[in-house]
Symmetry: none
Subunit: 234 residues, 2 copies
């Protein structure tokens, strides 16, 4: 149950309302990041992967639409829900133009918001991921299929990878021959950087090394205090 919480970026400048809404969403099993304005919202958006963004339209410095546009430029897929203070037609239309998935007029019913969130996230889930390229890697004589979570050596029998093994190896592969910082894996995969998650990660590195043993040209090197490096020799 702990594992697959959906992540929501909530950008709302009203501190009271924002906090209450955040707590409400968290009570309903979402992982919520709360940003107090558009600027901060974009920073947090860049740092993490979210399943949904809830943006207040009326905000100082950077309004919700502008933020949405920036988000769309970076990642065209994240669903966006706008919160508008009043029923302004122009706002609604503008919202849809930017690529909103829905909008809600304040004040709104919290249960309705929940339903919308659920519906939208489910919708996204049913859209089949077709660009398999991003999930396939060649690592020496290995083929990593990160979507189907298996690792094959030399075209032989594939070995199944657990979610964490898979994610970690994928991150390493993305940085092949380059440093993959500890912190990166911990924040992206474990979503927490502390002593225990760090040790856990070391355990997984050991597992991966075992898997990769068949090809002596492939190894995972440690860079003390920094992270790891997946190298393919020659």
């Amino acid at each position: 149950m702990e594992e697959l919480k959906k992540r929501i970026l909530l950008v709302e400048d009203d501190p009271n309302f924002g906090t209450v809404l955040k707590d409400y969403l968290m009570m309903n099993d979402y992982e919520v990041t709360h940003a107090k304005n558009g600027m901060e919202g974009f920073e947090k958006f860049k740092k993490d992967d979210f399943d949904l963004c809830i943006l207040d339209v009326m905000m100082p410095y950077k309004d919700g639409f502008t933020l949405a546009k920036e988000i769309r430029e970076k990642n065209s897929d994240v669903p966006i829900i706008f919160l508008t203070a009043k029923t302004m037609k122009e706002d609604v239309l503008k919202g849809y133009k930017v690529g909103a998935d829905d909008y809600l007029n304040k004040p709104f019913d919290s249960e309705v918001l929940l339903m919308k969130i659920k519906a939208i996230i489910q919708r996204k889930a049913t859209e089949t991921i077709s660009d398999s390229k991003q999930f396939e890697f060649k690592i020496g004589k290995f083929d990593l299929n990160s979507k189907l979570r298996f690792l094959r050596f030399n075209g032989g029998e594939p070995v199944k990878l657990s979610p964490k093994e898979n994610e970690l190896l994928r991150l390493l592969a993305l940085h092949e021959n380059d440093l993959m910082p500890r912190e990166l894996a911990l924040t992206k995969i474990w979503r927490d950087d502390n002593y225990f998650t760090s040790r856990s990660m070391d355990v997984y590195i050991a597992k991966l090394r075992k898997y990769l043993k068949p090809d002596p040209k492939v190894e995972i090197l440690n860079i003390h205090g920094e992270g790891f490096r997946l190298v393919v020799n020659e």
Copy 2:
């Protein structure tokens, strides 16, 4: 540039409002069929293929929800927009349960309706590419006829499949050799994603595995926490 007009089924008992709305939609390049009540709505629905249904909730004889349920039984894919007279939370929630794509409170802004229609139809269009109208599959030595709901091994006696068995196998076949996410089956077939529907799905997987046993090259693999994969070896 003679494009195919999108077809909308409008079910609305108020004759004035219904006619105006129909004309408005037609002016915006939709082909509209107007039914005056739920009964008539279902008749017309059965006769034709529509890209979208707009249903009034409050109607004599057969309300919008009941109609929606019937429509869903016949064709689980058509997008549905509900028109509700007032903001009744229960209505909204009920709507989403039936699988509504959106709802609008009367009175609503006509431009907003247009935007929603456009957004929804577009969404459906991109979605439909993958699970296009396909009802016959070859799965190893099996033939699946998803319309007639039977599965035949090696040209022998066909086995009858129950609706759920059929739908599930069809979804797996559509994603042959690829991941068929749990979530996808649960939302598309069971329309709800919880512990019990999930367990129910596992039961069906077991049933399908039994059916598929005759061909050792065909198997349904599990990808822990993600879903299932129908593979045909070699």
